[in-house]
């Protein structure tokens, strides 16, 4: 439960503020302005995260009685964490998530950049319609999209060859899930990149044209380097999105035998907490994931910053 809001706070933190140039003299205004955000962060992110941490250090112990008529909540030390770390299924679920990320993140970034460059090209026609068409899948809730894709995949209802292609095979399933996730976010990312492209002063392009550069050359040599920060940012968001993979596999799970209840880490947390009623174990897994997510975000953020700095030199 805690992991989702916590991770989005990380996004906010990582994306927030370039280094401040001027020192702001003592004034209450800034405090007032950030107060609502801080209060919300404390209430809905920090407090649940702390509660999850507290829960993760406890367990319920049944004492006496066939059906546990006496139960106590006792201090468990790190036993919930060792249970998580020694469970091969936990690492397997992380592995599956990484496979999806390896497929999905580059696909999202490349497609979003490609779409944005195409929309921005001088020769592009029907841009308003195309922009809307590309953006539309983002407006469809993930669960609905997954169910729709489910119908497209299943042999009984598939218009895209589900009778001959097993979309739920042991290898295919990764592409099947990644595909749903990618279509869901590509539209949003396209808009981010497209906005970045629009912000580039037009005289740069004119200068390039005068120098004899064609559309393709402008796209590759001028536009791409200029939108590198935006590309880096959507890469970061895509990585975080991959770490939070939950909706798509959960919604696809009842359709076939390919997806287990612990298929990706967040599904495991959900299963622990709300299916097998081990809220303490679930909290431990959630907290572990939170730490991993923060670490991954910082790593990707630092890497992306380096990349941008190098390319802007």
């Amino acid at each position: 439960m805690a992991i989702v809001p916590a991770a989005s706070a990380v996004q906010a933190g990582a994306a927030g503020g370039p280094p401040r140039r001027r020192k702001i003299r003592s004034s209450k205004l800034p405090v007032l302005l950030v107060a609502p955000a801080l209060v919300l962060l404390a209430l809905f992110t920090l407090a649940p995260a702390i509660y999850a941490l507290v829960l993760s250090l406890q367990k319920v112990q049944v004492s006496g009685g066939l059906l546990g008529t006496t139960t106590h909540q006792v201090f468990a030390g790190i036993s919930n964490y060792t249970a998580t770390f020694t469970d091969p299924e936990f690492w397997a679920s992380l592995g599956r998530m990484l496979i999806i990320a390896v497929i999905g993140v580059p696909a999202t970034v490349i497609m979003a950049t490609l779409f944005a460059l195409c929309l921005d090209a001088n020769k592009a026609r029907l841009t308003t319609f195309s922009r809307l068409a590309i953006f539309l899948p983002y407006a469809v809730p993930g669960v609905i999209a997954s169910l729709l894709w489910g119908f497209l995949y299943l042999p009984a209802t598939s218009p895209i060859g589900g009778q001959d292609i097993n979309y739920f095979g042991n290898r295919a399933i990764f592409f099947t899930v990644a595909n749903v996730a990618v279509w869901g976010v590509v539209g949003f990312n396209t808009v981010v990149i497209y906005t970045a492209l629009r912000a580039v002063p037009a005289d740069i392009y004119q200068a390039a044209q005068i120098d004899g550069a064609g559309e393709l050359k402008i796209a590759l040599r001028i536009k791409l380097p200029l939108i590198a920060p935006a590309v880096a940012m959507i890469s970061l968001f895509s990585v975080i999105g991959a770490l939070q993979l939950f909706n798509e596999p959960t919604a696809l799970r009842p359709l076939a035998n390919a997806i287990s209840s612990t298929w990706v880490p967040l599904m495991r947390v959900y299963t622990d907490a709300f299916v097998t009623n081990n809220i303490y174990g679930g909290a431990a897994s959630a907290f572990t994931l939170l730490v991993m997510t923060v670490a991954a975000t910082v790593l990707v953020g630092v890497a992306a910053n380096r990349l941008i700095r190098r390319s802007s030199r």
Binding site: M1, K59, V60, Q61, V62, S63, G64, G65, L66, L67, G68, T71, V143, L147, G150, F151, L154, P155, A156, T157, F168, N170, F246, N247, T250, A251, R253, P254, L255, A256, N257, A258, I259, S260, S261, T262, Y270, T271, F274, V275, T276, N277, N278, I279
Partner: protein, 438 residues
């Protein structure tokens, strides 16, 4: 009583359920009011059965002092039970809820429900020992049984007739028929192996003589991979590997379509199927017939159950006496049961009610089988259940779904999957501190 599209519902509401849990404080509990004689007591009641509102309305009309509000839960089966367990910590549970038998021990061990001995002292007169055994543990009664749901074999009589087949009476014959049907039309299957519904498989194991959980004093023994269950598992593994049984989970989109278009010509289900089939396979109305489940030895009528519910009073209820009164009326009075039979297609657990005249009319989906309930009555006499369901059956069931789905997906051994389920169950119980051997 019944389960409807459990997996599907679970998928659609999974995330919603999480949000609801987080906002537990907003959900309705019992309104606190002093229990003085002149005040109206308001009770809340969660139940997912279609037609239940009519039963509640009838009660409200006759009991102006005890007004019941029916709440349809966001999800059925374990989606509801897990919500009840979570909300129990917040103290926001409804006064009364339906709990299927297989989940009741877990609800007791999580302190969700209270003992009703004080309020319903004479249940033994109304119920058979077998029915009472589903709700009574160590002398305490935790729920009033509503119905029993023996497993039943449903088949497409039009297709059986075309192939000159009769409903199989033994599992050996079922296997032979499965081959015949698939050979006659490679698109058709006699049935499916359902990795999505653990209670389905448990019911088949009950018939074979398994006892997944047994107790002696305060000690538990877990026997999920006992020889009887292994026999059932390897039987189905054989059929699945031959390719004559569909591996699709029941209540999935694929299965719905297959049930509708005649790909599936049989369904190993339970008494409640006619309540579900109109929604699942509407276009096949009038083509299905019910028959006793095939037997392991010819002539043996032993059968397991799939589903079946009791109504319980939660520990959050501020009016347990009134809540128990409502529950007792609904599930064990002639008036309540007549309403349940008429509106919810219930086959009652109360012995006297199994011969109520209301049962002379078959459910509308089975109108071609006028003696449907007569058949149920004779099948229900031979119901065999496990001694008790585990105090962490949710772990068992979750493990079953994962292990058997993986076995189907990877074509690995069902027996191995069973061992996985056994180990998960035992280690889960040990972790919680139950005394267990297995």
């Amino acid at each position: 009583m019944t389960r409807f599209g459990k997996r599907r519902a679970a998928a659609a509401v999974g995330m919603a359920a999480m949000a609801v849990t987080a906002l537990a404080a907003c959900s309705s509990g019992s309104s606190p009011s002093s229990g003085s004689a002149n005040q109206v007591v308001h009770l809340t009641f969660t139940n997912w059965d279609n037609g239940m509102q009519a039963v509640v309305n009838a009660w409200n009309k006759e009991n102006p002092k005890i007004q019941v509000k029916l709440i349809k839960p966001a999800g059925t089966g374990y989606t509801l039970y897990n919500k009840l367990i979570t909300d129990n910590s917040a103290g926001t549970n409804p006064d009364v809820s339906e709990i299927e038998y297989q989940a009741l021990p877990e609800m007791i061990s999580n302190h969700v429900v209270i003992s009703l001995n004080k309020y319903v002292p004479n249940l033994a007169k109304t119920y058979s020992q077998a029915a009472l055994g589903q709700v009574e543990f160590q002398g305490k009664i935790y729920g009033v049984p509503q119905n029993i749901c023996p497993m039943v074999f449903y088949y497409r009589k039009d297709i059986f007739q075309r192939l000159g087949l009769k409903p199989p009476t033994t599992w050996a014959q079922y296997a032979a028929d499965a081959v015949k049907i698939h050979k006659a039309d490679p698109k058709e299957y006699l049935g499916n192996f359902d990795a999505g519904d653990p209670e389905w498989f448990a019911g088949l194991a009950e018939q074979a003589g398994a006892n997944w959980w047994t107790t002696s004093g305060d000690k538990w023994t877990v026997g999920i991979d006992d020889s009887a269950t292994q026999k059932v598992a390897s039987y189905w593994e054989g059929l699945v590997n031959k390719g004559v049984i569909s591996p699709e989970p029941s209540f999935s989109t694929q299965w719905d379509t297959d049930m509708n278009n005649g790909t599936l010509v049989g369904w190993i289900s339970a008494q409640w199927a006619p309540d579900q089939l109109p929604a699942l396979a509407a276009s096949t109305a009038g083509k299905w017939e019910a028959a006793p489940l095939p037997a392991w030895t010819a002539g043996d009528s032993t059968v397991g159950t799939w589903g079946g519910e009791s109504e319980v009073v939660t520990s959050d209820s501020k009016h347990p006496a009134q809540a128990a009164k409502f529950v007792k009326w609904m599930n064990s009075s002639e008036q309540g049961l007549n309403l349940l039979i008429k509106n919810v297609n219930v086959f009652p657990a109360a012995t006297f009610a199994q011969s109520l005249p209301a049962l002379n009319t078959p459910p509308s989906f089975m109108s071609d089988q006028p003696d449907f309930y007569g058949l149920m009555r004779s099948i229900a006499k031979h119901v065999r259940n496990f001694q008790i369901w585990g105090p962490n059956a949710s772990v068992t069931f979750d493990s079953y779904s994962d292990a058997f789905a993986a076995a189907l997906q990877n074509h690995t051994s069902f027996g191995q999957a069973l061992t996985t389920v056994q180990n998960a169950t035992v280690s889960g119980m040990q972790k919680s501190g139950f005394t267990v051997s297995g």
